[in-house]
C-alpha cells in the first residue's frame, strides 16, 4: 500500500510500530477507550495523508504524537471533563518517601498496586501533567523529544514532570493506605 517517502521507508514501516504507544497516549488524553480508538484512527488517517511532509530520519513517534495531540485538542478535548487540579505546591517534595521510609523504604508497595490503579491515578492528573508523565515515564521518551512533540521548552517539561510525579505519588499513597498496603503516617505534631 503506502507509497514510500523520500527515504524509501513506507508509511507502514514507520508508523505502524507506534500504534500501541499512540493508543496508550490516546487513552491518557481521552480517558475513554472508545474515544481513544477513534482518536488513533483519525491520527493515522491524517498522518497517512500528510506522509509526504514527514522528514525521513526524524522521530516518527514524535511526529505521530504531535498529530494525535493536535487532533485531540481540536476535535476531542471539549468532550471530556477536566480533572480538578490538586494544589501541588501544598504537597511537600519527597513527601511520600518521608512518610513511609520507616515502614517500606524500598517502596515494595508500588509492586502491590495493580497497573489499572496506577493508570487510573495517572488519568486523574490535570491534562498538562498527565501528558508529560505518560510520554516520559510510561512511553520512555526523552525530555527533549517531549519538548519537541508538545512544542514547549525542556524546562517546562521538567517542571511539569516534577509536579506530576509529586501529585501522582500523593494519590498512590492515599490509595495504598486505603488498600492497607501501607499504614498511614502518624500526624506530626
Amino acid at each position: 500500500m503506502a507509497e514510500p517517502s523520500a527515504a524509501g521507508r513506507t508509511f507502514d514501516e514507520e508508523a505502524l510500530p507506534h500504534l500501541d504507544a499512540l493508543y496508550r497516549v490516546a487513552l491518557r488524553l481521552t480517558a475513554d477507550p472508545t474515544l481513544a480508538e477513534d482518536l488513533v484512527q483519525d491520527t493515522m488517517l491524517k498522518a497517512y495523508r500528510a506522509w509526504r511532509q514527514y522528514r525521513p530520519g526524524t522521530n516518527a513517534k514524535g511526529w505521530l504524537l504531535t498529530i494525535l495531540r493536535n487532533t485531540f485538542i481540536n476535535d476531542y478535548r471539549r468532550r471530556k471533563h477536566e480533572p480538578i487540579a490538586m494544589d501541588v505546591e501544598a504537597i511537600e517534595p519527597h513527601a511520600l518517601y518521608r512518610s513511609i521510609q520507616e515502614t517500606d523504604p524500598e517502596g515494595t508497595f508500588f509492586a502491590q498496586i495493580v497497573d489499572e490503579k496506577v493508570l487510573e491515578a495517572v488519568d486523574s492528573l490535570p491534562s498538562d501533567f498527565r501528558e508529560v508523565l505518560a510520554l516520559s515515564d510510561i512511553e520512555g521518551m526523552s525530555y527533549a523529544e517531549i519538548a519537541g512533540t508538545l512544542q514547549i521548552p525542556v524546562g517546562t517539561v521538567k517542571s511539569r514532570l516534577f509536579r506530576a510525579r509529586r501529585q501522582l505519588q500523593s494519590q498512590l499513597y492515599a490509595h495504598a493506605v486505603e488498600m492497607g498496603y501501607i499504614r498511614a503516617r502518624e500526624k506530626q505534631p
Binding site: 500501541d20 484512527q41 488517517l45 518517601y97 498496586i113 515515564d137
Partner: protein
Amino acid sequence: MSRSDCEQALAHLHDYLKREITPELAGEIQQHLERCRPCFRHARFEANFLAMLETCAGKEKCPNEVRARIMAMLRAEAGGD
C-alpha cells in the same frame, strides 16, 4: 558529606534516574549515592516508583480489531489515489 550534597542529589533524583542530566552532574550524584546511605535508599525507592510506571506500558496494547480497522482504512485510502 555535606547537607548540600544531599540536597543536590534529591533535587535531581528523578532526572538522574532518567539519565536526563549532564554526565558531570550524574557523576557527582552517583558518587554521593555510593557514600550516603539515606540518599541511596531514597534513590532506590524512587527507582521503584519509576519502574512501576514503565511496566504500565505493557498493559495496554492497541486492540487487534482497531489495528485491523486502521489497516483497512489505509488500504482504502491508498486505493483511492
